[in-house]
């Protein structure tokens, strides 16, 4: 025992002499600072809202550095932020925004209508071409008024301007013109709650509270985002107190996190439903053409048990292929696990002894979900072969209509219920293997409907029809699991619906 103590003391002395222990201790977060262990490498392109790609990750930084005219906020999917207010013209051909009085960029310059116009015109990220084709012109008659004039009525304009793209996130025109595109990425200036301090590629990003932020003065002085790609290392860093929040901790590590005193597991439900698509339902010779077989499949699977086993029960069973936070979402009746009913329906369809149902295709990174589903299908007598494909091959095969039988799909794309239906349900949709004329007719009708209530009604009806026809067997809406350390008061998880990360950052707090 004495020898062990001596060894430890000697080792400590040796390490201290090198300044090692001291520096390791210094790595632990200081007061007024919160540290995140981030699962992906941060890319400077995400500092610039003009380059927002069609993935959610850049919003991790945009909610800190920048602000938008209208953006998803707690309790409101399209809350006016840098816009004090906005209104659509009665004919649906223009939208007028009033820039918030007193809103400032980090360099002290006021946010003006010219900045809003410039940011939109400069935008080149996801759906840029489509937005610019539909917007005839942007007018800035005075410093605080911006008018978007559309070529024809477009009911989804606000959805795309506020959340499905980065076109509504505002950058300072004068500064961008002065420093240039590369200069802006090296030292970005925005109108968000935190200002840029430093970025070490592959290592970390440091941000500092912007006290003049219009909504409120952020309570945490500094944010440090440390890149730690390996999941087990992130958990170790969280346990050690090197980071206060660790993004993406899954499976057994999430179990361990939950069992560790002082740490909290926080889940965020992503706008990413998973489903089984019956690709052959329009083929009269296929067993999947029979609606009873599709319904039997839905009854045969215990979705909740799968969620419990794979995501600790955090992935909700919404029974829909549309994300539940989307505008125009219709909530279907709850999914029911009833293997007896499944067998009965199969017997009625002439498959009393079960049947060989062909292939079950999935993205190989989610083969664990597929395996669980297939076990339930086998029990009901639906015999399928698992065909996991590498992600790129899977989505390319899916969109090129090369897959068949059953397809386990998912999507985290931005938009609203209408945009999802366009891609996955309606005729000529990128991932549609067939269509129903009654649904297509309704869909076309809502496209030009300016009355929100009427449009909502139509879109609800379409979702109901998708449910009744059993076009899909929705599995779950994926949960993103994260670890939160004991210093954190409000982590910001789940405040903004569908956002995977801590947001809004000005609401994040340290425990007192």
């Amino acid at each position: 025992m004495a020898q062990n103590t001596e060894l430890t003391r000697r080792s400590l002395m040796a390490l201290s002499a090198l300044g090692i222990v001291a520096s390791a201790r210094n790595a632990v977060a200081a007061d007024g600072q919160l540290t995140w262990g981030v699962h992906v490498s941060l890319a400077p392109t995400w500092f610039d809202p003009a380059e927002t790609p069609g993935i959610i990750t850049p919003f991790m930084l945009m909610y800190a550095l920048h602000d938008a005219m209208v953006k998803p906020m707690p309790g409101n999917g399209a809350e006016p932020c840098l816009a004090e207010k906005f209104k659509a013209a009665a004919d649906g051909l223009s939208y007028e925004f009033t820039v918030r009085a007193g809103a400032k960029f980090h360099n002290g310059d006021p946010v003006t209508a010219e900045d809003v116009k410039f940011s939109f015109e400069r935008y080149r990220g996801t759906s840029a071409q489509m937005m610019k084709e539909r917007v005839a012109k942007v007018e800035a008659p005075d410093d605080r008024t911006v008018r978007f004039v559309l070529k024809e009525p477009w009911p989804d304009f606000i959805t795309f301007y506020s959340s499905a793209t980065g076109a509504g996130w505002i950058v300072p025109k004068k500064y961008v013109e002065k420093v240039g595109e590369d200069g802006f990425k090296k030292a970005p200036i925005g109108a968000g709650p935190y200002r840029f301090v430093s970025f070490t590629p592959g290592v970390s990003l440091v941000l500092e509270a912007f006290d003049d932020y219009w909504r409120k003065k952020p309570t945490v002085k500094r944010l440090l985002l440390k890149v730690i790609p390996e999941e087990a290392t992130r958990l170790a860093a969280l346990k050690r107190g090197e980071v206060d929040i660790a993004y993406s901790i899954r499976g057994e590590l999430a179990e361990e996190l939950r069992a560790t005193p002082g740490l909290t597991l926080k889940s965020v439900v992503l706008q990413a439903p998973f489903w089984i698509y019956f690709a052959d339902q329009w083929d009269e010779k296929s067993p999947w053409h029979d609606q009873r077989v599709r319904e039997a499949t839905r009854y045969a699977i215990d979705y909740k048990a799968i969620s419990d086993a794979l995501t600790l029960g955090f992935s909700p069973i919404t029974n829909s292929m549309i994300p539940n936070g989307f505008e125009f979402y219709w909530q279907p009746p709850p999914a029911t696990y009833n293997p007896e009913k499944a067998k009965k329906l199969l017997a009625e369809a002439g498959h009393g002894k079960g049947f060989d149902a062909g292939d079950y295709y999935c993205d190989s990174s989610y083969a664990n979900v597929a395996e669980a589903v297939i076990n339930y299908l086998q029990e009901a007598g639906i015999r399928v072969k698992l065909r996991p494909l590498e992600r790129a091959a899977f989505y390319s095969g899916y969109s090129q209509k090369k897959l068949k039988n059953l397809i386990q799909g998912a999507s985290g794309a931005f938009g609203n219920a209408a945009t999802r239906l366009a891609a996955f349900v309606v005729k000529d949709g990128a991932y549609c293997y067939g269509n129903y004329p009654d649904i297509d007719e309704l869909y076309a009708k809502q496209e030009s409907e300016l009355d929100v209530a009427k449009r909502t009604e139509i879109l609800h009806r379409i979702q109901q029809m998708v449910h009744e026809k059993s076009m899909y067997a929705p599995i779950w809406q994926l949960a993103f699991l994260n670890g939160v350390g004991k210093r954190v008061g409000e982590s910001g998880f789940g405040l903004v619906k569908g956002n995977a990360y801590s947001a809004p950052y000005e609401d994040v707090t340290i425990k007192k």
């Binding site: 400590l12 390490l15 090198l18 300044g19 090692i20 222990v21 520096s23 390791a24 790595a27 490498s41 890319a43 400077p44 392109t45 380059e51 790609p53 069609g54 993935i55 959610i56 996801t126 759906s127 840029a128 071409q129 489509m130 990425k185 070490t200 590629p201 592959g202 290592v203 970390s204 440390k226 890149v227 730690i228 790609p229 390996e230 087990a232 290392t233 170790a236 860093a237 346990k239 050690r240 090197e242 590498e390 992600r391 790129a392 091959a393 989505y395 390319s396 899916y398 799909g409 998912a410 999507s411 985290g412 794309a413 931005f414 999802r420 891609a423 996955f424 990128a430 991932y431």
Partner: protein, 306 residues
Amino acid sequence: MKQYITRRVGYSLLSLFLLSLTIFLFVRVTGDPTTLLLEPGASEEDIVNMRHQFGLDQPLWVQYGLFVKSFLTGDFGNSFYYRSPVVDLYFERLPNSLLLASVAMVLSLLIGIPSGVLAAVRVGGFWDSAGKVFTLLGLSLPSFFIGLVLILFFTVYLGWLPSSGAGTAAHLIMPAFTLGWYFAAAHMRLTRSSMLEVLGSEYVKLARLKGLPEAMVIGKHAFKNALIPVITLAGINLVVMINVAVVVETVFAWPGIGRLLYEGISFRDFPVVQAVVVIGGSMIIVVNLLVDILYALIDPRIRLES
């Protein structure tokens, strides 16, 4: 000699061409990067725009031509993921990789050479067996496993060292040890076999017959000559360490070239993968070319045979 060098340079250029062609085709076989850079369900317009922006809509031979041109001009294009010049990304990470590789190399030599010498002078004894076990462990235990065990022990249980990142000497210890151990095993094995060969040579026997103390025979006469192949291997290993510490750099979040390659592969960032592989490959080809030329300069038989 001139003919010999010309031929060697020709082989090197051919190797470089084959390497560039292989990696160019290989990354493209893995699939379309837009499927990883956009969400499933992204609009056709976004996919088409992104493919156009990255030049993926051009014929393969045009893409290859542009890649070769970018390599020759030292440009390497822009990263799909970072949207910034690959050459900037590479040189931002290179100092970190050099630092990690240098420290790991010193560690591997400090461990490998003494244990190799000890194993050679005590053949069949305890140190030889211990060395073999050590070698086996270093070569067979996967780096991610060693890395995670070290983190568990030194970070979680003892709280001595930071789990990951870079910036202080403390951050360097665990990744350097993990990387160094693998190569220490190789250095130990080569030192042992090289020492055994030298210890059996005539001039060592003569030294012993002259009555020189054993320490001097081993340290002054045998060791110096046995070290030559070890240093040659260490030189090549250093280049390898700089470029392929993929697992170690990922586990410890070390911002080096290995992690850049990992990110490149993860996101099908073709320009990044191509640049890292071609630059790394070029380093190895150039080192081999220099070694060939130096051997030919030192040993006339080589150039005469050629």
